[in-house]
Structures are given as C-alpha cells and as structure tokens.
Amino acid sequence: MIISVASGKGGTGKTTVAVNFALSLTNVLLLDCDVEEPNDHLLLNPIITKTKSVYVKIPSIQEDMCDYCGVCAKFCKNNALFVTNKKILFFPQICTSCGGCKIVCPQHVITEKKRMIGKTKQGLVNGIELVYGELSIGEPMAIPIIRAVKKHISPLEKRVIIVDSPPGTSCPVIDTVHGTDFTILVTEPTPFGLYDLKIAVDVLRKLKIPFGVIINQSDIGDLRVHNFCNKNFIPILLEIPYSRKIAELYSVGKPFVLEMPEWNQKFKDLLKTIEKMVS
C-alpha cells in the first residue's frame, strides 16, 4: 500500500501528518519527496546510513569535431543550447535531459555526461525507514530527485509506504503522487485552504487516484471546507483541532503522537479506513 500526502496550499501540515502517521504504524517506509524543502528528517532525526548523489544527463559536445551547424540548438525546445559562429553556449540548468541533441547531431559529436543536482539520504529510526531528497541550491528541477527517492519503492515491498509531497499542484506534485494507491490531502478550514484544495482535487481526479481529506487546525476558520467535502462526496478522514501544544511541539521538532499517545489509535484507524477505500 502506497499512500501519498499532498496539499495544494503549503504549510497546512503535510509533514505533521506524514510523520505522525508513520510513527503510529509499525514497519513503515517513509519517502520525503519535498526535495526543495525536506522536513521529515527534522522531526525524526534518523541516523543517516546512506547518501547518494543524484545525476542528470547533459550533452557533452566534442568541439574540435563540431562544425557549428546549429541543428542541436534548433532542436532544443528549452533553448538550453545556443550555437553561434564557432561558439557553443550551453545552459545546464534548463536542460531537461531529453537526449534529443545527441540524436539530431549530423556529425555525431554529442555524447552524454553526468551532472549532479542533488542527493538522496536514507536512515532508520523507530522502525521507520526514511528516504529523503535534497535539491542543490540554485537547481530548478526537482523531478529527477523525486524519482530517485521513489526508486526506493520495490514492487515486492510489504511495508506500508508513506510518500510526503511538496506543496502546490504542478509537475513535482504530479510526479510524487503518480503511482500511489491513495492520496491524503491535508488542508486547513480557510478560504486559502479551500481554494488550493479544489485545485488539488481536480488534479487527483484527472490522475484517477482515490483520495480523502484531513482537515488540520479544523476549528480555526469557517465551515466552507467541510461543506465542500460533504457536497462533493469527498471523505473527511480525520480532523485535527488547533492546539497550542501541537504547534509548540512542532516548533521544537517533536512529533505530537509521542507526547499525545491518544492520537496513535486515530492514525491506526486512518490506515484501516484507507485500506477499505482502496480495496
């Protein structure tokens, strides 16, 4: 069972839900795919046992053999390559590694080389195996790192897998939730929470992934999120009321289930609810 945790709006509590959910179950693989700003490890403090670099492929042009015909630059849809009279300019950050330049080069002088854009880290804590990605500063493309994190999902995996997504609804989110069996959308009962929830719901419907909603700080705003869910037959899986204690525990990096064990059972029940919905 692979469960992703996403949100639309940032800061609604994805990490809080993913980490506390993981701690309430036994034998879990937790993947933090918010590779721009990974936070799960801050709450779990695992001992990192493995660090791997993530590479993307970029063109390597053998310039002494190149006749500057410019076919590669003309092909490149992202304008990562510019060819002028006897000069090639390459902008690695905007290269999407499609490999097209290598295919179209009439002189066959383009090969591929590796470029590092970030890391994945792996560690164990409290029966949770955590893998998270870290995009290098200044690199725009999160997706290759997200894919490297998700490579840790083996088809034979018996454990529950929880996948923590970045905020938003664009390509990094799609890549994260893609292939997961169920998505938990974490939101807050405010107009911002509702608006971004609606976009996220559209995306998940398009991807045909079953989903439900967790309303965090469920008593701070108004009832429009509740009404929207009820009207559209979207199950509200759990409500976490606002609590200064939870906020303070989060601020020092302490998952609240460790201090408020009554929540353990609620997260265990959450898994049962999801399992029923998927089967």
Partner: protein, 303 residues
C-alpha cells in the same frame, strides 16, 4: 484606509526605474500572502504580481477584476497519428520521460521535447501547442494586478511565473508605477527561481519552528546564489522564543536584517476568512502595526 507612508523614490518614475520586491519563504504557510496582501494596501502606485501560479491565493484578499485574459502556451504536446503509426516502438524507447505507453502519449508526462518526433521513421508524430494555464491582467482597489492559474497538472510553472512578471512590468510601465510587489511560491526550485531572478530585494517570511529555520537557511542560500539582497520577517515569533533567538543570531551572522517580528494572533485567520488584508480588517491591531513598520523598512531599503 489612507496609506500613511509616502514613498520617496518618486523621481524613479521619470527615470523609468522600476523596483521589484519578492516575498518568499522556503517553507509553505508561513504568511507570504498575508503580508503581501497588506503590503498591496500600504503601497501606493504599485503593481501586485501573484507568482504562486499553482496555488495562487492573493486574489482572495485583493479581489481583482480581470480586464484581459490570455492563454499560457506551455510545453508542446506530442501527438501520434494512429493511421500512420506502425507500432515499431522506437518513440517509446527514446522518450526519457516515460510519456509513451502502448503507442499513446500520456499528456501528463510529455514534456514536448520532440525526441519522439525525430526518431519516428514513419513521421507519424507531430508536436502541437497546448494551453497550460491562463494569465490575467486585473484591477484591484489598490492598483493593478498580474496573476495566473496553471491548469491542473500543467507543466512549466517557471515559464508562467516569467509571463506574470513580464505582464506586471508592462502594467507598471504603461501606468507609471514604480514598484512591483511579487508574492512567491514555497520551495527553492523552478518557479521560485523565476520569481526572484533579477529583483531588487527579497523578503523571506519565516516562523520559529525547526522546519521554518531549516527552510529559511535554504531560501537565504538561494538568494545569495542569485545575488538578491534579502530581508527577513519572523512571523508568529512568540510561538517559540528560543527559536526566534536562534533565527536572530543566524541572521546577524549572515548580515541579513530582520525587519519585522509578528506575534501569533488569531485575527490573522479571521481576516483571511473575511477575505480581507489584515491591515484593512483591523488596522489598529498589533499585527497590522508590525506590518506597517515593516513596510516602512522595505521602502527605506528600496530607495
């Protein structure tokens, strides 16, 4: 309400100098849009740009009325002509994005790179424009606004951010505005880079939590990587005074000024529920006063 603060770089207008400031955070939900909404009220003669294109929220505070809508043409989409395709599978093998399965293009994964088109021996594949979102030019009670909405699952949000910024610059130029106020998105990747590239100043909104601090550090590294001067605001600073102190120490070590500390106050949520910038909702509140002082600092730095 009457804006109280006068900006003193009005002469910039004659020189055609336009300033841009981006509000960002690294971590989501720290209060970017709350601050940006109130700044839009305080600013005179500014254009507001919501560059969080896949989860835009600023329009819910500023209630813009669009007077121009344009389609955003994102990456192209490959199309296989079933009548010509001989199911050789060469395109599937060449596609680096796993966007072709069973001789069909998956629009969600297709990046429009064109590799399938060049490898197809039958010339059965062609690339087509696709609409990946919409951009709006709008008017609000506080001036002009440029914003957008990426289609659900749409790709290339960075390019749409650039379009929103270009539109804002055009609005500013045509209407003699000298400041562009940009509300950014969380993270440090593609859309964030597009929203900070070349701006005069960035204001990072953080919160005194371990995640807030971690994400602040990465956002600061990003800004210094792109040579953008940065300022910091600690929102909900009283939630954890020890962490607030940590942020203060860290920022002073990095020579980055903290220009505002805002208390945690439920009126911020109430203002959001009322879909009103907090500074209009309760101008006399402590939060509003802090935001106003912070705006004054921003103006000073921009001069």
């Amino acid at each position: 309400m009457e804006p109280k603060i006068q900006r003193s770089f009005e002469n910039n207008r004659e020189d055609g100098i336009m300033k841009e400031i981006t509000i960002l955070s690294g971590k989501g939900g720290t209060g970017k849009t709350t601050i940006a909404g109130s700044f839009a009220v305080l600013a005179q003669n500014a254009v507001t740009a919501d560059c969080d294109v896949d989860a835009p929220d600023l329009h819910m505070l500023l209630h813009p009325t669009p007077f121009k809508t344009q389609d955003f043409i994102g990456p192209k989409l490959a199309k296989i002509d079933k009548n010509v395709c001989v199911n050789c599978g060469l395109c599937q093998k060449a596609c680096q994005f796993d966007a072709i399965k069973d001789f069909q293009i998956d629009p969600i994964h297709c990046e429009g790179c064109g590799v399938c088109e060049v490898v197809c021996p039958e010339k059965a594949i062609s690339l087509h424009d696709r609409i990946s979102g919409q951009a709006f030019l709008s008017k609000t009670r506080f001036g002009f606004m440029s914003h957008a909405l990426l289609s659900p699952g749409g790709a290339n949000s960075g390019k749409l951010v650039t379009l929103v910024r270009n539109n804002a610059q055009m609005l500013a130029k045509n209407n003699n505005c000298d400041l562009i106020l940009i509300d950014g998105s969380p993270g440090i990747g593609c859309p964030v880079i597009a929203s900070i590239a070349g701006v005069n100043l960035a204001l990072i909104i953080t919160e005194p939590t371990l995640s807030g601090i971690h994400d602040l550090k990465r956002a600061m590294q990003l800004l210094s990587h792109f040579n953008v001067p940065s300022l910091v605001c600690i929102n909900k600073y009283d939630l954890n005074l020890k962490n607030t102190e940590k942020i203060e120490k860290f920022c002073s070590k990095k020579n980055v000024d903290i220009i505002g500390k805002i208390i945690f106050d439920p009126i911020v949520t109430k203002a959001m529920v009322a879909e009103t910038p907090v500074i209009e909702y309760l101008p006399e509140s402590k939060v509003s006063k802090s935001v106003e002082q912070m705006w004054q600092q921003v103006i000073l730095r921009l001069e």
